[in-house]
């Protein structure tokens, strides 16, 4: 891996850590999701600092280049994250529907009583 790529990866990783910490401090991301982002950043950092380790793994797994494996892993993790988000949104939608229904029922009941 070239020196400049290592530097890029380290910078990206540190940026991710700073951004995550920033939002965590402002209470905009819940702890459990921030963990995932820290894990991401750490993974990138490890790849940058110990490329030899990953070269061996990627060769064993049949990737032509180590960078391919890194991209593959990241895409896989992103897909998982998207899936988790889809499930979360569906859960949120259910709760919103419930709220709209119950609030509308309540509102019409109040209106009826004040007639």
């Amino acid at each position: 891996m070239s020196k400049s790529l290592i530097i890029t990866l380290v910078v990206v990783s540190i940026c991710l850590i700073i951004i995550t910490s920033h939002y965590l401090k402002k209470d905009r991301i819940p702890i459990k999701y921030s963990l995932l982002w820290y894990l991401f950043s750490l993974l990138i950092l490890v790849v940058a600092l110990f490329p030899g380790l990953f070269t061996i793994i990627s060769k064993t797994l049949g990737f032509e280049a180590m960078s391919n494996m890194v991209i593959g892993i990241i895409i896989g993790l992103l897909l998982l994250l998207t899936m988790a988000l889809t499930i979360m949104i569906a859960g949120q939608k259910k709760k919103t529907i419930l709220l709209i229904q119950e609030l509308s029922l309540l509102k019409s009941e109040v209106k009826e009583k004040n007639k």
Binding site: I97, I100, Q101, S104, L105
Partner: protein, 238 residues
């Protein structure tokens, strides 16, 4: 005497809602029946809500648009909280005829069924509006899929004209799919072991306004419903 509630979901139905309501009130007077009505206004952008309030039509205004499933479920919740014995789903667009309400609630009153579907396709000789050709093909495919998922043949799978008893009202109030509710709930109800029956009804063409199912959406609709029914086949219900 069983207490009957007619649930009318309405989204932008300013042209039809008053006539629909009046037809039920006239029927009540003529045949001395006691059908209560509740209109669920699904966040209409037109004057549906205004017309309802001006004419003293019982209405629940949803504070935001929920789509057909969420709107109908609100009606079932209302029926559940108000302790109704039978709930009838009835379209606000003038397609359904109040004269058939007694036919679809009779099997429930006589304890022969728990969910009754008003069907356009049982009585082959009957006239009346039977939908376009492509729509009928779709309904037939869904019919086969419901048979596959639940082992019972239902002919008019997308009919929104149906009645159910107290147990199913409670079931629907607790959980109701927000999309493609008719075929999906029918299959689920059969799988849960409820007694389901179809009775012949005639339907009219929409009197005005626009149907919620547009032509270009049909393929997408079929794809979703098919997948949904396939999942139901492999789901377990207690």
């Amino acid at each position: 005497m069983k207490r009957v509630l007619i649930i009318i979901p309405a989204y932008n139905e300013e042209e039809n809602i008053l006539d629909t309501y009046k037809s039920i009130i006239d029927y009540n007077k003529k045949y001395k029946t006691n059908y209560d009505v509740i209109v669920i206004n699904d966040g209409s952008k037109d004057n549906t809500s205004k017309i309802c309030h001006e004419n003293n039509i019982p209405v629940i205004d949803l504070i935001n648009n929920l789509g057909i499933g969420g709107a109908v479920q609100t009606g079932y919740k209302y029926a559940c909280y108000s302790n109704y014995d039978i709930a009838v789903q009835f379209d606000g667009d003038g397609q359904h005829d109040v004269n058939y309400v007694k036919d679809i609630i009779n099997p429930i009153i006589n304890d022969n069924a728990e969910l009754v579907i008003g069907s356009r396709f049982i009585d082959k000789k009957a006239e009346g509006f039977k939908s376009s050709f492509s729509r009928r093909v779709g309904i037939k495919i869904i019919s086969h899929l419901i048979k596959f998922a639940s082992h019972k043949k239902i002919y008019d799978t997308t009919s929104g004209f149906r009645a159910c008893n107290k147990k199913i009202i409670k079931d629907f109030a607790n959980s109701y799919p927000s999309e493609y509710p008719e075929p999906v709930t029918t299959a689920e109800i059969i799988k849960k072991g409820y007694k389901v029956e179809e009775v012949p009804v005639k339907m009219k063409e929409r009197q005005g306004g626009e149907s919620s199912i547009k032509a270009w959406k049909n393929v997408y609709y079929m794809l979703n419903v098919s997948l949904y029914l396939l999942i139901i086949k492999f789901r377990r219900y207690k």
